[in-house]
């Protein structure tokens, strides 16, 4: 059974249709990359999986359980699915460590004392041990984004969603964030990325989906999709970005 399955998911904002019947299946430990032009629906799809946006129709199954049922309490599900945003969205009035501990304390009810060691370990693992007591505006963009990843990981999510997390970064800071993803990949985290980093997708993805006009036009293993795309539009897109 797939860890996460989307079945003909549709979503629109007023007259603007952003998902036209999306089907997608992600297995445990798999890394799926969503590529496509801006406005093709990648971000919205991720926000729908995390239940930040309610879907209009179709189903989203997590471990075979429908989590898109209207009226379902979204909080416990969101706690199982981590998301990292393009613009970091750290809480500016809290230190990096407080950002990371907030949800485990309030949602999982853990005490500050029990969290101290594991949170320190997380920061060390991503080379930010010296930055725990810094406020977001004292950190570089790359450091902020890594703290945002740590914040999501601290909830021990079963799936991680990444919404163009390197798009707001200066080029020289992209590498340190991609390194974190590589590390998570080797640790077997189930991940879905909306990304413009084609080289990265090609190197690490198990599956790449090309979104065009709010649907998945083509999907497959990166070597096939990048080297030998089936659709003209995929070919045209890749020609523009590669």
């Amino acid at each position: 059974m797939a860890k996460l399955a989307l079945q003909s998911v549709t979503k629109s904002f007023g007259d603007n249709i952003v998902c036209r019947g999306i089907d997608l299946s992600v297995d445990e430990g798999e890394m799926v990359c969503l590529i496509g032009a801006s406005g093709s629906g990648k971000s919205t799809l991720l926000r729908c999986i995390n239940l930040l946006e309610p879907i209009d129709d179709g189903r989203i199954l997590l471990d075979g359980v429908d989590i898109s049922e209207p009226g379902l309490d979204p909080q416990p599900i969101r706690a199982r699915i981590g998301i990292v945003f393009q613009s970091f969205n750290l809480f500016p009035h809290m230190t990096a460590a407080e950002n990371v501990m907030l949800a485990p304390r309030r949602v999982l009810g853990k005490s500050r004392e029990t969290l101290e060691a594991p949170v320190k370990a997380l920061f060390d693992r991503f080379d930010l041990g010296q930055r725990m007591q810094h406020y977001p505006d004292q950190l570089s963009g790359g450091q902020q984004q890594r703290v945002a990843i740590i914040r999501a990981l601290a909830m021990q999510p079963e799936i991680m969603l990444f919404d163009e997390i390197t798009s707001a970064l200066d080029p020289e800071l992209v590498g340190e964030v991609l390194d974190v993803l590589r590390q998570l990949r080797t640790e077997g985290m189930t991940m879905i990325l909306a990304t413009h980093e084609m080289a990265f997708a090609r190197e690490l993805a198990d599956k790449v989906c090309f979104l065009d006009a709010s649907r998945i036009l083509e999907e497959g293993p990166p070597e096939t999709l990048f080297s030998n795309p089936r659709e003209d539009r995929t070919r045209a897109f890749l020609k523009r970005v590669l």
Binding site: R47, N50, L52, P74, Q75, P76, R78, A79, I81, G82, I83, F85, S87, N89, L90, F91, P92, H93, L102, A103, R106, V107, R151, A152, M155
Partner: protein, 283 residues
């Protein structure tokens, strides 16, 4: 040319062409500003005493003897203003926050709170403060309640609290609205409830953002405490009135004005300073 910092200020060589030009410009505008200010001050000093009633005004408003005699008493009375302010301010802060939160509730079962918040702020921001003070300050004691519940201090304070809480609520609400929705999304994505998101993520930022605006409100409150004098409490304005009648001289009012300014000008400057600091931080 080599070390610019050692060059004394002045049109000494070592200034770039732009610096020399700006220096000439600065000197010119400083001279102009000084000249025009001097002209205005001279005009006031020379012309005002030429007015036919100046001697009478000087005697009744700027009488040094009366000032010296009444000022200590006015300062004493001002302690009452401070006391009224001190017990009103925390209640206003709490009530304002509660009303602001009422206006943000999403749950349909709590809709009455939302409605109440909206009506409350509309009503109390729509009325002149003095009118509320009269209605509550004279109205409620008319019910014939026993001491101390017939005191104008209690009901006058309540009137101030009700009015100022409405303003504080609106300021806090604008602060809540100013927090970008991505912050709420980030909190929600971590599994926090709406209430937890408000408590730990939105409110701390919102209240910090509107602190200078709230400070301006509390400066206004400090002045409006004087309005309670109309329903009885003897604070500095009323005390000045008493002295005025006693001595047939208006100087005590000038004394009261001096006391207010001594407090409000530094406070206003400080609020401005905070607001500028905040603007710089946000840009």
């Amino acid at each position: 040319m080599t070390d610019q910092t050692s060059v004394p200020r002045g049109s000494a060589p070592g200034l770039t062409r732009r610096q020399a030009y700006e220096q000439r410009l600065r000197r010119r505008s400083n001279t102009l500003a000084a000249g025009s200010t001097l002209a205005v001050v001279l005009a006031v000093v020379v012309l005002v005493p030429l007015a036919p009633g100046w001697d009478a005004v000087k005697r009744s408003f700027f009488n040094g003897q009366v000032f010296a005699k009444t000022f200590p008493g006015l300062l004493d009375a001002f302690l009452m203003n401070v006391a009224i302010f001190l017990w009103c301010a925390p209640i206003i802060a709490i009530l304002g926050l509660v009303i602001a939160l009422f206006r943000d509730v999403r749950s349909p079962a709590l809709y009455p709170l939302r409605l109440f918040g909206a009506i409350y702020t509309d009503v109390f921001r729509g009325l002149p403060v003095i009118l509320v003070i009269y209605l509550i300050g004279f109205g409620v004691p008319g019910l014939g309640l026993p001491r101390p519940w017939n005191s104008p201090y209690v009901w006058g304070s309540l009137a101030l609290i009700l009015v100022y809480a409405a303003y504080v609520a609106e300021v806090i609400r604008s602060g809540i609205d100013s927090i970008h929705h991505s912050q709420r999304a980030a909190a929600a994505s971590l599994g926090l409830s709406d209430g937890e998101t408000m408590r730990y993520v939105v409110l701390p930022q919102a209240i910090r953002n509107v602190a200078p605006a709230n400070m301006n409100l509390f400066i206004a409150l400090q002045k409006d405490v004087a309005l309670l004098s109309f329903i009885g409490p003897v604070e500095v304005f009323r005390q000045a009135g008493v002295y005025k009648s006693l001595l047939a001289n208006f100087t005590p009012y000038v004394g009261a004005a001096v006391i207010f300014l001594a407090l409000t000008i530094p406070a206003t400057r400080y609020a401005d300073y905070l607001m500028n600091k905040q603007r710089r931080r946000q840009s």
